[in-house]
Amino acid sequence: MSTTALDVRNLAKTYDGHGRDVEAVRDLTFRVDRGELVCVVGPSGAGKTTLLRCVAGLLDSSGGTVHLDGVPVTGPPAGMAVVFQEYGRSLFPWLTVRGNVGLPLKEKGLDRPTRAAKVDAALAAVGLCDSADAHPWQLSGGMQQRVAIARAVAYEPSVLLMDEPFASVDAQTRAELEDLVRDLWQDLGVTVLFVTHDIDEAVYLGQRVLVLSNRPTVVLEDVRVDLPTARDQLRTRSSPAFAAARNRVYELVQRAKQGHRPLPRATGARAMSTGTTAEG
């Protein structure tokens, strides 16, 4: 009924270390609407990965709730797909590209023709039709990450989580993959939560950028990116609006690094207030 796809409220995570508890995430509250593309940035060690693993249901939180399509997340939920940073380690090396993309579909119980059609469509969407029968380790890093994206796309998730997916590919490939994510998002209407440490990437991709504080993490600010839907590596990145948004986020991350934190109440209220999508 609601337009909210992902609803994170007062999420907290404390790791029990050796005799000393480490509070990684203190109080995170934000929402992602259906069809939105939201990026999360923060200083290194800001608990970005902890946040993502809690949202993905891979890690038990110590407090707060995560709802996906109104259903509480207690383990990995059905409508969620994750693309990990370590592309080389998230693909099954003993399966072909086709096998990697198809395995989750097989587990869903889809019959063979449906599966084949979806796999082919997903591989076509990421431009990998020719490599369907190769093994992941025969491909370049960027192509391997395309396979991981194809697997996520074929799974037809309600929300696609991406954990610094392009942190370990070269700059040229990275730009191509960023555009691929934008294209897939627009074509398929999938909701994307994209975690990155790269401020430019966050601004270029996102409709909104959530800036996290340093540890223990809270949302420092929810920045709306006022850029046109059609984005272009050259023109968008050199536009004044991009520069403005980039500077704003950069400043916030710098402040986060210096330990600046919002007042506890204000964070929640602010993040909650930006529920609607408005795009230029």
């Binding site: 059905a78 990990f84 380690r89 998230s90 395995l103 380790w137 799974y155």
Partner: protein
């Protein structure tokens, strides 16, 4: 191709030829001429010893090895998947592995005497178990965390995760353990037959030795050697087919 075959076969041919020539005029009791050994082959290994010595030995080896493979992989997956269980078992396994497998023979003999096939199969299975078990534990333990997370986030069921992720992922280590176990198995197959008046390939060789049928003993030794080589070749064939992905992966990693 012919060049490679020449290089591969060259030395073995030279060695055998050297043996043949050097031993040709041998009058030494222990080192009969190779020609005499070869001549003894067809008369020694006729249908009867093949049916009553060779085949039962191979059957016991197969049975013991397969039991060890199934039990070792199952227990290895269970222990490898659980941190507490692993820590609990580690020193115990370390100790049990360090006991030389042939020492199992007198221990098993205490329980049931050392006659019949079952005790031999048990000996082989117990000896083969440790390398398989320990390598499986190590393979499962070192399975990539990201692969596990991937399997979980795509909600792969327990059975699919076990079959497609855990077993496939640890298969290179399991294969390494299975290869070690195979040579242990052949050794125990022979040793288990040295106790008591039994029949079997190992028992036959000792029978020839005790009866001072030296050329016949030599045929038995050569047959055991050929068996070891054949089994290792068979294993490589299976490994070559099932672990092609692993070889490719390793090569790709090396080239980076």
């Amino acid at each position: 191709m012919t060049r490679r075959a020449l290089v591969a076969l060259g030395l073995p041919v030279v060695l055998v030829a050297t043996w043949w020539v050097l031993s040709a005029g041998s009058t030494s009791f222990f080192w009969p001429p190779l020609s005499a050994i070869v001549a003894a082959f067809p008369t020694t290994w006729t249908a009867d010893p093949i049916a009553h010595d060779v085949l039962p030995s191979l059957a016991r080896l197969t049975a013991g090895y397969l039991v060890a493979l199934v039990v070792g992989v199952a227990a290895g997956v269970a222990i490898g998947s659980d941190r507490v269980l692993r820590a609990l078992c580690e020193p115990v396994l370390e100790f049990l592995r360090a006991i030389p497998p042939p020492v199992l023979v007198p221990v098993i003999a205490l329980f049931a005497g050392y006659t019949g096939s079952t005790t031999k199969v048990v000996t082989i299975a117990l000896g083969c178990l440790w390398p398989i078990l320990l390598n499986t534990v190590e393979g499962v333990r070192s399975l990539d965390e990201v692969l596990r997370d991937t399997a979980r986030s795509y909600r792969l069921g327990r059975l699919t995760t076990l079959r497609q992720v855990v077993l496939r992922g640890s298969s290179p280590r399991i294969a390494a353990g299975a290869r070690q176990a195979l040579s242990v198995g052949v050794i125990l197959m022979v040793i288990s037959e040295l106790f008591g008046a039994d029949r079997g390939l190992g028992a036959a060789v000792v029978r020839f030795q005790r009866g001072f049928a030296i050329p016949q003993m030599w045929t038995g030794i050569i047959l055991l050697g050929l068996l070891g080589v054949a089994l290792s070749g068979l294993f490589r064939l299976v490994e070559h087919r099932t672990l092609a992905w692993y070889r490719g992966l390793r090569q790709a990693e090396r080239e980076v």
